[in-house]
């Protein structure tokens, strides 16, 4: 059983983004000096893959990280979890803005991992510039079955059983291979800690890089600009911080909540 996990990485969300933009004269984002890490959804997808292998040793996990040389440290971090294979799919110089072009590249990346995957796992959003288009579009482009936003996946009777919550319902989908499942974070898929020994091995080992044989991929979308924006303004402006003894503050907050409850009543 071939499981491919596609990982994107994000700029560390705790890091202040003071300057971010397109490199002059190009469409490439200038992320220099900004540390990258796996997103919570990359982590959840990786853990899901590892759990499938824990449950069934016939599962072979290949982790693929598209990116340039700046992603190698991240790949070493992934290798420390001992997937059966981990490689960087070199996307140096390619701008990620056109989702159709990105889907082509991701298809090639999966192809480089194995000819016909049984299951492809991705985070619910793929990196900093995707809001969930890529997993669904990739599945559709490849003709794979799709389940979006699953929080758990198991294998039963040769099918992938994906759990998800959609609106008011908790659903279970049974997908025959080949399938693509996008993963959302949950307590059950928090990424385990790697063994220190494996971290050290991964630090010293070589990084496998696969260069796509893509030819020119047509693009219909270009980036005009990328810029840091302040958080949108909300409310009337300044926050009224309650003061006085805690009991008085609590009484004031209670009165505020009562008023809001009344206003919200149908």
């Amino acid at each position: 059983m071939q499981v491919v996990v596609l990982l994107a990485g994000v700029v560390d969300p705790k890091w202040r983004l003071d300057r971010l933009g397109l490199r002059p004269g190009t469409e490439l984002a200038d992320e220099s000096g900004l540390p990258r890490r796996l997103s919570p959804f990359d982590e959840a997808a990786l853990e899901t893959a590892l759990k499938l292998r824990d449950a069934d040793p016939a599962v072979r996990v290949t982790a693929v990280l598209p990116g340039d040389v700046g992603s190698d440290a991240l790949l070493r971090g992934v290798a420390a979890f001992r997937p059966d294979r981990a490689f960087r799919f070199d996307t140096s110089g390619l701008a990620p803005w056109d989702p159709r072009a990105a889907v082509r590249l991701l298809g090639l990346a999966v192809g480089a991992a194995c000819g016909c995957p049984d299951l492809v796992l991705m985070g619910r959003e793929f990196g900093d510039c995707d809001d969930g288009v890529l997993p669904a579009a990739l599945a559709e482009a490849q003709g794979w079955r799709f389940c979006g936003l699953a929080h758990a996946v198991a294998i039963a009777d040769g099918r992938f059983v994906a759990h998800r919550i959609r609106g008011p319902r908790e659903e279970l989908l049974r997908l025959p291979p080949p399938a693509l499942v996008s993963i959302t974070n949950d307590r059950g898929n928090r990424l385990r800690h790697p063994l220190m020994k494996n971290v050290m091995l991964a630090k010293r080992g070589p990084v496998e890089v696969v260069t796509p044989q893509a030819g020119a991929i047509p693009r219909a979308v270009v980036a005009r600009s990328l810029a840091v924006v302040p958080p949108p303004q909300r409310g009337a402006g300044a926050c009224r911080i309650l003061s006085g003894p805690v009991d008085a503050q609590v009484a004031e907050l209670a009165a505020y909540l009562r008023a809001r409850r009344q206003a919200a009543a149908p």
Binding site: P99, D131, V133, P168, N185, A220, V246, V250, L257
Partner: protein, 323 residues
């Protein structure tokens, strides 16, 4: 020739809280008299929906009914219907689907079926002649990306704009009765029985009481639930609180979770990151309880109580119970 601006309404889709939001967005984007709406519905729901679409500003309404749509409809069936309806239509268009998991998945998959360009979750789209300029959040809401495309067919998701829609006075209504077969081998979700303690739905609530990493454990969340019950509120959570298992996946609020639009959002033990705030409608009032005076949540809240929740929640619950 200008492209058509067409919003899709998925009637009877239980995961949607604002099925007509994209119609209002299309009407604002297209200007008066130009926005179109495609309504997918079972026959019994269709007429009322057409009137609603007109109130939201749709000047041309196509009512697509399919008696084969199950209750609730299957997303795969929505996809087949839309693809069947639009595949032969070669005119340039911008198709808008409603925000949220179902609209976003459909939008992405439909682009591949229709050879269209996906623009994702857009905050604003502007027409520049035959080209579209799309504004989207990126890097967890910390940056804005502006994309440009001349592709004749584009698909995006949009939420309801802040300004109320201008109703269309005299909409043209067309009807299409389709019977698109739903592939027998398409996966149909099995709906699991609802657990007795299933949390109240967060995206439809008028008041949300929400907890973050600062709650430190399940005990704090038990108090939040008690408080929420007293206020008739739903309980929400930040991503780290869901990761910790203090709240369920369905309660996660943010760019990667539920989008909530309550009158009041009470944020307890959460710092107010852009990723979290992206899931709270701009018009919602925020009140915050946090022990750190520097927490960003106080920059967006209208009322703040600066103290550890342990000192506040038990007293707050007792005070509300007394009166």
């Amino acid at each position: 020739m200008m492209r058509r601006i067409v919003a899709v309404v998925l009637l009877g889709e239980p995961a949607l809280t604002d099925p007509f939001g994209a119609v209002a967005a299309a009407a604002e984007l297209a200007g008066s008299g130009r926005a179109e709406a495609i309504l997918l519905a079972r026959p019994e729901d269709a007429e009322a929906a057409a009137a609603q679409a007109a109130r939201e500003g749709a000047a041309e309404i196509t009512l697509v009914t399919d008696s084969g749509l199950s209750d609730p409809p299957q997303p795969e069936h929505w996809l087949e219907l839309l693809a069947g309806l639009l595949a032969e239509d070669a005119r340039g268009m911008l198709l808008l689907l409603p925000g949220g998991a179902v609209g976003e998945e459909l939008a992405a998959r439909l682009t591949m079926r229709l050879d269209a360009v996906p623009l994702g979750r857009c905050g604003r789209i502007v027409e520049d002649g035959a080209r579209l300029i799309a504004h989207r959040a990126a890097y967890g809401g910390r940056a804005e990306l502006v994309l440009e495309t001349g592709a004749p067919r584009c698909i995006a998701t949009m939420r309801r704009p802040a300004a109320p829609p201008k109703p269309a006075a005299d909409p043209v209504i067309r009807r299409a009765d389709l019977a698109i077969p739903f592939a027998a081998d398409a996966p149909r979700p099995e709906v699991l029985p609802a657990a007795a303690d299933r949390p109240k739905r967060v995206d439809a609530a008028r008041i949300v009481v929400s907890g973050g990493r600062g709650m430190g454990g399940p005990e704090g969340f038990a108090l939040l639930r008690e408080l929420a019950d007293m206020l008739g509120a739903a309980t929400g959570a930040s991503l780290p609180a869901v990761d910790a298992g203090w709240a369920s996946v369905s309660q996660q609020v943010g760019q990667s979770g539920a989008f909530v639009a309550p009158d009041l959002y009470l944020a307890v033990g959460m710092s107010g990151t852009p990723q979290h705030l992206a899931g709270i409608a701009p018009h919602s009032r925020i009140a915050a309880i946090n022990s750190d005076p520097e927490a960003d949540i106080f920059r967006v809240a209208e009322v703040g109580l600066l103290a550890p929740w342990q000192e506040v929640l038990p007293r707050l619950i007792a005070t509300l119970r007394d009166g």
